[in-house]
Symmetry: C2
Subunit: 316 residues, 2 copies
Amino acid sequence: MGFYVPFFYSLNSSVMKTIKEILQLEPTGQSIEVKGWVRTFRNNQFIAMNDGSTIHNLQAVIDFTKFDEQILKRITTSAAIGIKGTLQPSQGKGQKMDLVVEDITIYGDSEADISKENYYPIKPQKQSLEYLRELAHLRFRTSTFSAVFRMRHHLSFAIHKYFNDLGFFYLHSPIITASDAEGAGEAFKVTNFDLNNIPRDEQGEINFEEDFFGKNTNLTVSGQLEAELAAMGLGKVYTFGPTFRAENSNTTRHLAEFWMIEPEVAFVDLTDNMNLAEGLLKYCIQYMFDHCADDLQFLAQRLTGRRITETNGRAQ
Amino acid sequence: MGFYVPFFYSLNSSVMKTIKEILQLEPTGQSIEVKGWVRTFRNNQFIAMNDGSTIHNLQAVIDFTKFDEQILKRITTSAAIGIKGTLQPSQGKGQKMDLVVEDITIYGDSEADISKENYYPIKPQKQSLEYLRELAHLRFRTSTFSAVFRMRHHLSFAIHKYFNDLGFFYLHSPIITASDAEGAGEAFKVTNFDLNNIPRDEQGEINFEEDFFGKNTNLTVSGQLEAELAAMGLGKVYTFGPTFRAENSNTTRHLAEFWMIEPEVAFVDLTDNMNLAEGLLKYCIQYMFDHCADDLQFLAQRLTGRRITETNGRAQ
């Protein structure tokens, strides 16, 4: 079929761009509008701002003699701001370009004072992961966690792309199920019962016929059984969805809830299976080098203090 | 970084191809190996086989004088077979090519006799959806459901690709949660309690401190709250994951478990939001025309008896 659905959509106009896009431009004095959050404000002059699109900040330069002091005081770490200005080659050494501020808007204030409503508890300096864990709702604004979440996105997309390009079909296997797969682990119970008033049958046993699905159900520990059935009709399928284990193992390798990939293929042998797994790992690693090099470098430096080199792909 | 991870992997060798790939070849007598399931076997001569890669069958032609009758008897609907042969221009009208069988292997038998272990209850003729619903584990082998699942795959990939290309980050929001979002609907309870022995506190109330997460938890009704927080650091995010409603509404528009898309974007207005939603729909529709035209045509004909035409995209 030769249908054509008109599609001319971009979130970003020619003026409003992400910082990732801006940092790839040649600065020639062009007009730019950008919105994001303040990372730091130095010397009443240099605003490092970030919008989450990249690990790198854009440096905006503001002439404090031209702006009201009440505005300048509100340019604090994590304040939400919008800047209109021109992109100029930078005078400084740390960056290729400066955004010279012509107009600034404060969309949301951020206070260093704990008594204030907009108190922001994360300092620009490196914070411990344990401290950030307690601030799960704000950690998206840190370099460390934004890098992790950007990488998780790219890795997820790479997984889908790998299987899609090989002709696999993505299967959403059921999350609520009455099966326990191969007894892979202890399952969480799912119920609609009033726990203060669980229905009983004549023998005094719990009457699951009165529960939502009319039977005892739990959260899936694996989509394997459904994927096996699907592969016996579609040929090549994979699942990539949340999986659950009610095991009280509090290690860095155990999670109660995690996303798992399960490919199932008809008519292949062990060698094909090994090649598929090896191919997935190699594809994803290459994809991450191609799409997340800056985030990988940032995390390598944060965790080891060293950069990854091209020689062997390991932090030196 | 300029890392290069060697990646030379394909599931399909030059000989072993999917039926979708084979049907795109020019038949020139080349040697082909294919594995799949029998749809029909006519006149002890024509095997229509399918491997799930496409709605279309490959016609294999077998010279019954050259094969043992015991083998021919096992070529029944839904039997799993492998064929080696040569691809020849078809003598018949219904197809471009025939696979002329040189060797056939029966990997799995399929019996029409209900008393047999491998009894296969779905006939090649059109079956009602209600009947197939009772055979959820086998319906992947039907044209109707394989078309639906292939389309679901392509639609899922299109959704990820649309957001990825626009610079959005995919967020896996929590499935087990203690929040009920905006009270979007009644939630399923998730618990690790022994329902016959639920712990009580001194006041006789259920003691959720003794449950797995130390609090009362349920299945998410929406990833919106987490996505809003993520957008306030990453700029543009979307969720695409399972969502749950414990509402006893048995209509074609209500499901207890379904996959939902929730984009959240910082610094955009209502017009941007409308453009994003309209763009998603247009992109997905175009993608489906480009990737699933044959499956769409099959379903249009099954449901309406008419083909979709290029004039207006509607079944005529």
